[in-house]
């Protein structure tokens, strides 16, 4: 296999790992617990920026062409841990604002606005993370190991991503199928029943918001270290939609399903579209990619709302499907 092919495959594997970890974070919030986090991409970005700044040296040392808040030059794995902490902390702050007193779809609106605010801040306050140009020269932990070929370093990073994905996956299984996981699904299905059991639904939501935020941050940190650059253009709010599609296609609440969904939607569609024999106009291909993502969401919500690999607990799924209608008024208006 040529070096180029190896590198391409490595890239795809890293992207799959990153997206799977991120999609699991969203699944915990949206799939398992029913929290509609439309600012999701913001937490991925927070992780990426944090990892970048923790691993970069001081701004003045890197040639002075980029400006950012701090540069600590910390060794692996501290930037990743720091990213998760910041992602979780930011989630806690935003969760406290939005989760306590707003209805689910309204939370979504407010978080959408917050996501846009964050982009505007990042672009406007240049000293924060170099404005719209973003950060570059972000160190890759595998490449700091000397005496290895580029190829080996690359596969080392792939190994790191795969290992982290597996660890997160095991933790996800532990969490989702524990008694605590039942509480989370309870929050999604029947908040009143959870409250009646003496558990606070709001607290549970906040907890998954924080855990999911930390996972999003981890995925962002890995991505930033892999590509070596991170800028506001990478986390515009429509990107969140891709993760939602991944969870819906894979199967809300299903850990293996969401992993497949993330691989297919976040990585697969993009790669597959490039190979489509419909001429070579890249603008059309990109449009097609988004249109396919949108159509896939609609098709799955209509034909297979439980996703490719449905959540194990069918009892809940039936309720999801026949559950309360969005607007009874529209539903029964025609009857």
């Amino acid at each position: 296999m040529s070096a180029a092919t190896q590198y391409y495959i490595a890239t795809i594997v890293v992207y799959i790992c990153v997206n799977v970890i991120g999609a699991w974070g969203l699944d915990l919030q949206f799939g398992v617990t029913g929290v509609l986090n439309f600012a999701f991409i913001l937490f991925q970005a927070a992780g990426a920026y944090t990892a970048a700044m923790l691993s970069l040296g001081p701004a003045s040392a890197s040639g002075g062409f980029q400006h950012y808040l701090v540069g600590f030059k910390l060794p692996f794995p501290l930037p990743l841990i720091g990213a998760m902490l910041v992602g979780g902390a930011l989630s806690a702050v935003i969760g406290l604002i939005t989760l306590r007193r707003l209805r689910s779809d309204y939370q979504a609106m407010v978080m959408l606005v917050i996501s846009v605010v964050a982009t505007v801040v990042a672009e406007s306050v240049v000293g924060l993370a170099n404005g719209s140009a973003g950060l570059s020269l972000i160190p890759n932990p595998a490449k700091s190991l000397t005496g290895l070929t580029l190829q080996t370093q690359n596969w080392l990073f792939v190994g790191l991503c795969v290992a982290l994905m597996l660890i997160v996956g095991v933790l996800m299984y532990g969490l989702v199928y524990s008694p605590y996981g039942r509480v989370l699904r309870g929050v999604r299905e029947n908040e009143a029943a959870v409250e009646a059991m003496g558990r606070s639904a709001t607290r549970a939501r906040l907890q998954v918001f924080i855990i999911g935020g930390a996972l999003a941050a981890l995925s962002g940190a890995l991505l930033a270290q892999f590509i070596g650059a991170w800028a506001p253009s990478e986390w515009l709010y429509p990107e969140t939609f891709v993760f939602f599609t991944a969870v819906i296609v894979g199967g809300r609440g299903s850990i293996s399903g969401v992993a497949i969904g993330a691989a297919l939607v976040a990585v697969g569609i993009q790669q597959a579209v490039q190979y489509m024999p419909i001429g070579s106009d890249p603008t059309l291909l990109a449009a097609l990619e988004w249109i396919i993502t949108g159509l896939l969401t609609l098709i799955f919500l209509w034909l297979r709302p439980q996703g490719l690999l449905p959540e194990r607990r069918r009892r809940y799924l039936r309720r999801v499907k026949t559950g309360f209608a969005a607007t009874k008024l529209q539903e029964s208006a025609g009857t």
Binding site: R103, D105, V117, A287, F324, A326
Partner: protein, 295 residues
């Protein structure tokens, strides 16, 4: 002082443009409960209808009226063809949010594929400028502000005093009871979608005239500011949407005049978040509170 007055004046102009769309967004949400993120796409699509007519030689205000009608029809069609079937299918509230964002993505990128990633402008002279100290208004801006004031008052009066307006408000809070009163809910809902689309059409053309150039995604890009205005004012309240638009407009312009042009948006959104912290239901909260959107 002159700077302040002119900044407030400019804020009112910005607010007027945002208010048309914000009222449309909030009205449709209050009646149908669907957070329609494809609202921005309706703005753009009808903006293009006006563009084609305008470049075929039609006066911009006539084109705007055509955009209003087409906006209403597009909005109605989206609801009938996509949203209502999904709701009948049993999709819940936040499932619908995802459906609307899917529709927006499909529309925007479909349109971009059709018209290309380039910029479009109407041919419409700004007209004579009216000057009061630093505060300058062109004839075109004056007409837009006039249209905005007229439309928002019209919506408000219709909701407050007409039979169908009351039915709409009743439907918004208690659909089953509205049916008990004999309200043909399906028709009223269709009307709400149509009116919302009309406002999207007019709001889109007004916005595109104001920013003087637009692309296939401009409507969706500005939707967030429009939602922010609606949320700030208290979702579901047309009065609130106008007030929210005024706050957003004036804060951004005053912020730009006195503080930092680059951060004026941050300032406006900061006000929104501060309001949400204290009063999550927004400024005019009745519907939001009664519908348990915010506690």
């Amino acid at each position: 002082m002159a700077v302040f007055i002119s900044a407030v004046g400019f804020g009112v102009v910005t607010a007027a443009i945002l208010a048309i769309s914000a009222v449309g967004f909030t009205l449709q949400f209050s009646v149908t409960n669907v957070f329609n993120l494809a609202f921005g796409s309706v703005m753009t699509l009808s903006g293009f209808v006006a563009y084609w007519l305008n470049h075929a030689g039609l006066n911009i205000w006539v084109a705007m009226a055509a955009a209003a009608v087409s906006g209403g029809l597009i909005s109605l069609a989206i609801n009938e063809a996509i949203y209502t079937p999904f709701i009948r299918h049993g999709l819940n509230l936040f499932g619908m949010v995802i459906v609307t964002i899917s529709v927006a993505v499909i529309f925007d990128h479909g349109l971009q594929a059709a018209v290309g990633p380039t910029f479009f402008s109407y041919t419409a002279p700004a007209g004579k400028a009216f000057r009061f100290a630093d505060f300058v208004l062109t004839r075109q801006e004056l007409i837009i502000v006039g249209i905005a004031v007229l439309l928002t008052i019209l919506v408000q009066v219709a909701l407050q005093y007409t039979r169908v307006g009351k039915a709409m408000r009743g439907l918004a809070i208690n659909a089953s009871l509205a049916r008990a009163c004999g309200v043909p809910t399906r028709g009223v809902i269709a009307l709400a979608w149509f009116v919302s689309g009309v406002l999207a059409g007019v709001g889109g053309v007004a916005l595109f005239l104001d920013i003087s150039t637009f692309t296939a995604t401009t409507g969706s890009e500005f939707l967030i500011v429009i939602i922010a205005a609606a949320v700030l004012g208290g979702i579901g309240s047309p009065r609130g949407a106008v007030l929210g638009a005024l706050v957003v407009g004036i804060v951004t312009e005053v912020g730009a005049a006195y503080w930092n042009a680059e951060l004026k948006d941050v300032l406006a959104f900061g006000v929104l978040i501060a309001v949400l912290l204290v009063r999550p239901q927004g400024l005019f909260s009745r519907l939001a509170t009664e519908r348990a959107i915010a506690r």
